[in-house]
């Protein structure tokens, strides 16, 4: 190891140390500069005798994982230094502060909590899609870009699906941060992405109530209380917390990962569409469970924990958000039936899937009063009723279905925006039949196929004898 002095002005592999930003228990963060580069951050592990041995292994883990991550929700990796000299990681400097600075203002407005939660859920989904579970999500590990995106930092306890888990092999104690760590992490399970959803629930709980859901236990026994003791419902601590937000938070905080949301994208969908969250007993709870229920749960914790035998990629693949887009004005009965069959097929393959039924109210670019039709009925309500009527034969449980009536002058763009913002995995949409109308309007499905960042199934009603006409019309609708 090097004997180089770590002080302002020192230069390590071309990076000049400017200012110490943070001194943690496991690592030091420096603001560094390098010729021709914007401001960067250098992270160095603590290497003194007697330092926590997990600090070194955590640093190894971070050196393995960070170079594999891309996108706006992580600091961009720049370089790393080997342990043979001075170990370090150089990464992008994220300007804004961490979510921790907001804790002083708690309780925050519920709308703000939902907004922050959606940003974090979006970042988690991006991380999980890259095979990584964070496993130490907490306010100080969430930063925000000036453009609003949440940035997750500190991957020292993280687990990459496709890389050796150095921490699990070497340390027997659960790794995480007391107020936020999930029950299964306490049982040394480190391969369940739903652990991050539990931590997200604990963060949102803290933001909306100003208090920690499980306190700040310092003993293993204290930590294990969350295996059987449910938190005080958020609404009991902050009556301004809406029922839907309590539903979402307590849904994330379910002890058994099977009973939580199954992916970060599903949490995101709920946070962005609070009106569509189906309220269960969780939403109405105003006090903790009684001693009998707690005692029963406590007894259950004495058994062996179930092994989470999945991979992050597998868990996400099993729990997609599927959108079915319906044209309730122009589509034929046959097409609506076929759309239902196609949706059933997609859902049949994924028991953890959520289905969002969606339609777009076409508005003119100028008119303001489009939501009232000539009979004075509220079109939005009418469409919602029609969506529910369409979905009824699917026989899906309430929690697996949501309905959305969106508005905009260009249905394809509205749809694609929804798909992007909610990190939808699969779109089922009907092809508009051969018609004069389509010749002028262009194909919505073609645009959705071209611009959606996910799989799109385009459903066509089988044509009998008119196939040629259909094909030609299809081509004419596409931009040449």
């Amino acid at each position: 190891m090097s004997t180089q002095r770590i002080e302002p002005g020192a230069v390590i592999d071309g990076y000049r140390l400017e200012e110490r930003l943070h001194q943690g228990s496991m690592a030091t963060l420096w603001r560094v500069s390098a010729v021709g580069r914007p401001t960067l951050v250098m992270k160095m592990p603590l290497l003194r005798e007697g330092d926590d041995p997990t600090a070194l292994v955590s640093f190894e883990v971070e050196q393995m994982i960070m170079p594999t991550l891309v996108g706006p929700h992580v600091p961009q990796f720049v370089a790393s230094g080997d342990f043979s000299a001075q170990p370090y990681i150089v990464m992008e400097h994220i300007g804004g502060g961490s979510l921790r600075s907001r804790l002083e203002e708690t309780p925050l407005e519920p709308e703000e909590v939902a907004r922050l939660g959606a940003q974090i859920a979006s970042a988690l989904q991006a991380l999980h899609l890259q095979h990584v579970i964070h496993l130490d999500l907490k306010p100080s590990n969430v930063m925000f870009r000036s453009t609003g995106e949440a940035v997750l930092i500190d991957f020292g306890f993280s687990r990459h699906d496709r890389l050796p888990d150095l921490l699990a092999e070497q340390f027997r104690l659960p790794m995480g941060t007391a107020p936020y760590i999930s029950p299964e992490q306490l049982q040394r399970i480190r391969n369940d992405p739903r652990s991050d959803l539990f931590a997200l629930g604990a963060v949102l709980y803290h933001l909306v109530t100003g208090e920690r859901a499980f306190g700040f236990p310092t003993t293993v026994l204290g930590l294990r209380r969350r295996l059987y003791r449910d938190p005080v419902p958020p609404r009991a601590r902050n009556p301004r917390c809406p029922a839907s937000l309590q539903e979402i938070i307590l849904h994330c905080l379910e002890t058994d990962p099977q009973n939580r949301y199954q992916s970060a994208a599903q949490v995101l969908l709920a946070l962005r569409n609070p009106g569509e969250v189906s309220l269960t007993a969780r939403a109405g709870r105003l006090k903790q469970d009684g001693p009998l229920t707690v005692a029963r749960r406590w007894l259950r914790t004495l058994g062996n924990p179930g092994e989470a035998s999945q991979t992050t990629a597998g868990q996400i693949a099993r729990s997609p958000v599927v959108v079915v887009a319906l044209d309730l004005v122009a589509s034929s009965d046959a097409l609506r039936t076929d759309l239902r069959t196609a949706s059933e097929r997609v859902l049949g393959m994924h028991p953890g899937a959520r289905l969002a039924c969606l339609t777009v109210l076409r508005t003119s670019r100028l008119a303001q009063d489009v939501t009232i039709d000539e009979e004075g009925r509220n079109l939005r309500v009418l469409r919602l009723v029609e969506l529910k009527d369409w979905a009824r034969p699917l026989g899906l449980a309430e929690g697996r279905l949501t309905y959305h009536v969106l508005e905009g002058p260009d249905p394809a763009s509205v749809l694609v925006d929804f798909v992007r913002e909610n990190r939808v995995d699969h779109v089922v949409i009907g092809a508009r039949g051969a018609s004069q109308l389509r010749r002028y309007l262009g194909s919505v499905s073609a645009k959705v196929v071209a611009e959606s960042p996910c799989t799109v199934t385009v459903v066509k009603v089988p044509q009998h004898g008119g196939e040629d006409t259909e094909e030609r019309s299809d081509l004419e609708a596409l931009p040449r």
Partner: protein, 243 residues
């Protein structure tokens, strides 16, 4: 230097060619052949020619138990099919063609066909315990081996914790300088994990990043040649199953 790691080729020319071609697309500059170049397959001559060419280009090759048997004759402990293939190979190759060293060291890296514990005993590395023994018997920080036909990655932490990992093909893995590593790329010429695709790995020596690969190849052709050469038919059939 980007080094392709090919182990347990077993005279399977189709698999060797497929791996070498794949390695070129991955920027391989040199090749390390980790023993058992012959035995089982029908193309010992052409495969050894590829190995010789690789060594002349700056790469390296070591011998495995099948290569030794093809020089000295099969040991009594060898399974019947394997022994028949060895005898057949002896008739098709001169001993000088298989004169490769038992181990090669390159900087902090050691290349050895089986466990580094007494390499001539050809001990299998099938568990973390075996891997720990192999690593602790030498001073090299990283050991690259074959012999078990199963792609594996073992790591030894500073506190003595040893653990194994089943690598996922195509995923770059940084071999941290804070621990020691044992890399088994799996078998090129006779995969046995139920997947008939050939195994090999790429090592970037400068950055210490290793990537395991699986390469599908024409196993039917390799099997046909085995049958045509009069070698035991089972040796061909198992190639198509990867068993």
């Amino acid at each position: 230097m980007r080094l392709a790691l090919l182990a347990d080729l077993h005279a399977n020319l189709e698999a060797v060619e497929a791996c070498l071609a794949h390695a070129r697309t991955q920027g391989a500059e040199q090749v390390a052949f980790l023993g058992d170049l012959v035995g089982y397959g029908a193309d010992p001559g052409p495969v050894v020619d590829r190995v010789r060419a690789g060594v002349e280009a700056g790469g390296l090759a070591i011998k495995g138990n099948h290569d030794e048997a093809a020089v000295r004759g099969p040991p009594p402990s060898m399974r019947t099919d394997a022994a028949r293939a060895v005898t057949w190979t002896q008739e098709h190759l001169g001993p000088e063609q298989l004169a490769f060293p038992l181990t090669v060291e390159r900087g902090e890296r050691l290349f050895v066909h089986a466990s580094a514990v007494d390499p001539e005993r050809w001990l299998y590395v099938l568990s973390s315990v075996d891997a720990g023994r192999s690593l602790r018997s030498v001073t090299a920080r990283e050991v690259f081996s074959g012999h078990t036909h199963t792609p594996s990655l073992y790591h030894l932490a500073a506190d003595g914790t040893m653990a194994g990992f089943r690598p996922v093909p195509g995923t770059p893995i940084k071999l941290s300088g804070l621990r020691r590593w044992l890399v088994i790329p799996g078998s090129v010429g006779q995969p046995r994990d139920g997947n008939p695709a050939a195994c090999y790995a790429m090592l970037d020596e400068a950055s210490d990043v290793v990537v395991f690969h699986r390469v599908p190849y024409d196993a039917e052709q390799a099997a046909r040649k085995i049958r045509a050469a009069g070698l035991p038919g089972d040796l061909g059939a198992r190639l198509e199953l990867g068993s």
